[in-house]
Symmetry: C2
Subunit: 139 residues, 2 copies
């Protein structure tokens, strides 16, 4: 665990309010990828007076500041995740919605190569795999 969200806010000059501290705390403790509603529910349990508008404003702010990343998985609401040094992509179970994080350096390298082939510098990418759990005997 490198820096806490609070430390990142201080470092980037983001004013720390109670609401932001709570949202930061909830996101840090979430190992899943909550959408705004889920986040709002969790946050409400700590302080029931926080409004959903503040949650929206805060995740947006945190995203712009590089504290959170936003994922827009297929056909669902936007989901958020704390951004740490280690980049990873996602494998999503289409039946259960379970999300598995993975890293594959080779794919990363190839992506860069593809971009370069077309004369581009890769600045970002999105890779999502959608799968169903295999049974033992399946190919």
């Amino acid at each position: 665990m490198s820096e806490t969200i609070e430390q990142k806010c201080l470092a980037k000059g983001v004013k720390l309010t109670d609401q932001r501290r709570i949202i930061a705390q909830v996101m840090s403790e979430s190992s899943d990828h909550p959408n705004v509603d889920e986040l709002y529910n969790r946050v409400s349990k700590i302080d029931s007076k926080i409004s959903i508008a503040t949650v929206y404003r805060t995740v947006k702010l945190f995203e712009e500041t590089g504290i959170l990343t936003k994922h827009e998985f297929k056909g669902g609401k936007a989901r958020y995740e704390e951004l740490n040094e280690g980049h990873h992509d996602h494998l999503i179970d289409v039946k259960t919605g379970e999300i598995i994080e993975f890293v594959d350096d080779e794919i990363e390298k190839l992506q860069k190569k593809v971009a370069e082939k077309y004369g581009y510098k890769l600045v970002d990418h999105k890779l999502e795999l959608y799968g169903v759990k295999k049974k033992q005997n399946e190919t």
Copy 2:
């Protein structure tokens, strides 16, 4: 060019109305990836009485039927594209919004391998590269 959209509709038992024919035609002639608004505008030029609700209903139907695919690129509206045999991914110019289609078999293979590593059968995936055009002297 394999089958026309009309042929696909017949093959799948989708009733062919004038509106659907026009939407099919416009999509076939579009080499970009129009969103519903853009599609609606193009379609309106041919028949100004088609309602946007029909456009929404039709792209959804065509998507379910495997005639179109939907893309949800970063922070934008849903975009549609005709689905042909050749699968490809997208490289998006973050400055201009230009979209380049590419295929990389090696990446495809690796994706499958990753899914398998976690005990999943890959049923779908999304790969988007976001880049900026390089100048000659850049690395």
